[in-house]
Assembly symmetry: C2
Amino acid sequence: MLPVVIPATLPIPGAPVRIGDTLEEIETPALLVDLDHLETNIARMAKLFQGTRARLRPHAKAHKCPAIAHLQLARGAVGFCCQTVSEAEVLVVEGIADVLVTNQIVDPHKLDRLAALSRRAAVAVCVDHPEQVHQLEAACVRQDSRLGVLVEVDVGGGRCGVPPGSAAANLAERIAGSSRLHFAGLQAYNGKAQHLRGIEERRAAAVNAAEHASVAVAAVASRGLVCESVTGGGTGTFLFDLEAGLLTEIQAGSYALMDADYARNQSEPRTTFAQALQVLATVISRPAADRAVIDAGLKAIAFDSGPPEPLDLREARCQRPSDEHCELVLGGAAQSLSIGQKLRLAPGHCDPTINLHDWLVAVRGDRVEALWPIAARGYRWPGQSS
Amino acid sequence: MLPVVIPATLPIPGAPVRIGDTLEEIETPALLVDLDHLETNIARMAKLFQGTRARLRPHAKAHKCPAIAHLQLARGAVGFCCQTVSEAEVLVVEGIADVLVTNQIVDPHKLDRLAALSRRAAVAVCVDHPEQVHQLEAACVRQDSRLGVLVEVDVGGGRCGVPPGSAAANLAERIAGSSRLHFAGLQAYNGKAQHLRGIEERRAAAVNAAEHASVAVAAVASRGLVCESVTGGGTGTFLFDLEAGLLTEIQAGSYALMDADYARNQSEPRTTFAQALQVLATVISRPAADRAVIDAGLKAIAFDSGPPEPLDLREARCQRPSDEHCELVLGGAAQSLSIGQKLRLAPGHCDPTINLHDWLVAVRGDRVEALWPIAARGYRWPGQSS
C-alpha cells in the first residue's frame, strides 16, 4: 500500500513547500522526514517480528500522521495504538480499521465519540477503575454500540494501572459482565523502561513487566476469563518483550521516526534505527566566532528530553532555546557556518516535536517527494461543539 | 475597542466548547484565559505607563492572538512586536497598523513577504549583520517598498546583536545609506534579565542594559544619525527600564496572561499580575491515594520553565509529564480528588504553552464568554507555496 501522497500538481495553501523543491527552498523551521530512513526503519521492524508470535501495533501518538500509518500497515502492522480519542477518529476516517486507545477516557463527550467510533471500526480502550467501566457502558448504551476494554496493569511504570492481582481480575470480571463491553485483555506498558540506557537494564525491566503481566493473566484466568490480548512494550524494550514471549502485541511507535533520546539507548545493530525525523533550521545570526543563532526554538522542537543534535555539523551543539531561537556553540570547522545556511537537527523527543507542526515534509535525498499533513494534531471532531 | 468576539449563535467547527458553556462542559485539555484577570493586567500595565515618556509595544509572540492584541491597543499600546513574519502578517490582516519584527529575517521568501507587508502597515525589523541589510534592501527593491530597520545591540543577553560601539554605528550608517531602508533605531533586549528572581538583580540588569544601549546611541549619534526608537525590556524588567529612562518603547508581553515562572519573580504589588492563562485538565486515573493522573502533558503544556502549578488545589504538585499525561502528587485534602474532576493549572511558560493550542477559551467566572482563535499559530501566508 502506498502512502497518501498529495498530488504534486496542486499547490497546497498553507503548505511550507512544493513537491519537487530542494532542501534549500524550504522555509524554516520545517519538520522533515527522510523517506529512505523511514522505509528502512519500518522494514527493519517488520523483519524483527517475522517468526515471532507477537503482532506489531505501532503507537500513532508518535507521528499523528495517517500517511505513515499506512506505510506501517503495508508492512504488517495489525492496527494502531492512540493516546486520545481524536487520534483514533483521524485514523479511522483515514481508513484504519483497528484502533486501541491506550489510555483512560472519562469525559462524557469523548466517551460518546469513542462509542460511536466503534460502529465504524474495531475500537478498544483501557480502564484502571470501575468508574471508567461504568461510564464506558453508559456511553455504549447511548450510542447503541459495543467497545473492547482492556484492564491497564501497572507493570513498573508507576503512572496509571491497577496492581496485577485481584484488582485486575475484579475489573476484568466487571467488564466481562457487561452486555455492552467486551473484555479484550491487558494493557501492560512500562514507559520508564523504554529509556533505560543499558541493554541489560532494559531487558531486566521487560522481564519484570512480563512477570507482573503474567500474574495478572493468571488472576484473570482464575475467574474463568481469557486475555485475548496482552499489549505493551515500546521502541526501547520490544526485542526483550519478544524474548520474554508474554506480550501478544507490541506498541512500539518511535522506531519509525526516531529521536536523539532513543538514539542514546545502547542497542544491537539489528535494532538500531535511523534518524528519519529532522528539523530543518536556518542560521539567522552569527554574533561571535563560536556562536550562531538558528530560527528553531521551543515552538519548533521539543526540549523535554534534551536539546536537538545537529546532523550535518560536528563540533556544534545546541543550548539556551527560546521561543524562536536556539544557540549553537561552535568549535573547529563548524565556525565556518554563515548566515542563511540551513542545517538539519535530530530532535530530542519525536512525539512532542511532531505535535508542534502541521506538516511533515517528506524528502528523499535533497528533494521533497511528498507533503503529509499531521492530521491528528489539534484535530477535533467536526460538529463536536455544535 | 472591543475584542474580536465570535458570535455566540454560531457553532464553530473544531472549537472546543460553545459560548455560554460552563467550565465543567469544556473538553480537556483546554487553554483558558480568565477575562477578569486579563482585563486587570492590561489596565494595570496601562496605568504604569501613564506619565512616562516610554510607549508600550507588547510582544505578540506571547499570545499570537489578535483579540488580545486589540484589547491591548484599546489600552494604549502603540503597536506590537512579533518574532516571526507570519505573526506580523496575521496582526496586519487583523487590523494592526504598526508591527516590529524583533528578530533577524534571512529567508528570501520571508523577506519578500515582509517587504510586501510594509505596503500595508508600518513594518520594521532588526539586523545584526551587513548581510541581512543587503538582503532586506534587495527584497524591498523586488517588492517596490521600504522597511524600517533597527540595529540589534547585545545589552547583556548574549543571543543575537552587535556590540554597542562602532559595530552598531557602522550598521546604522549602512541602513541610513540605503534608499529602500529607514534607520529606525536600536533593539536593546536582554531576555535573561527578565527571569532574575530578585528585584535588585533585575534593576541592575536593566541599568546595565540601558548603559550598553546609551553607548550605542552615542556611537550612532557620532555619525550624525538619530535613534527614533530604542526598544527593549519585558515583563520582568519594565519598571526598572522605565526608571532608567533610556528606552522609548517597552516590549513586555507576558504580563497580560502571565505564567508560573514570571510569578516566581519577586515584585512589588503594583507590578504583580494575575494568572490569566490557565490550562484546564481532567483527572483520568487515581492509581494511588497520593497520586492522580491528569490528561494534560507535553502536548498541552510547555515544561521548559518547570511544571505547571495547580490553581485550585493546595498540597498537589505536578511531575513526570508524558505526551498526554502528567502525574499529580497529592497530600492532605487534595487526596479527595476523584476521577473526572477538572482542575486548572498555571503553565510554567506562557508563550510555548499557547503555541500548543488552536483556541483560547475566554471565561468569566465559570462561563465561556468568547472563543479566540490563536490565529498566528502555525499560520502560513495563503499561497506562499503556490
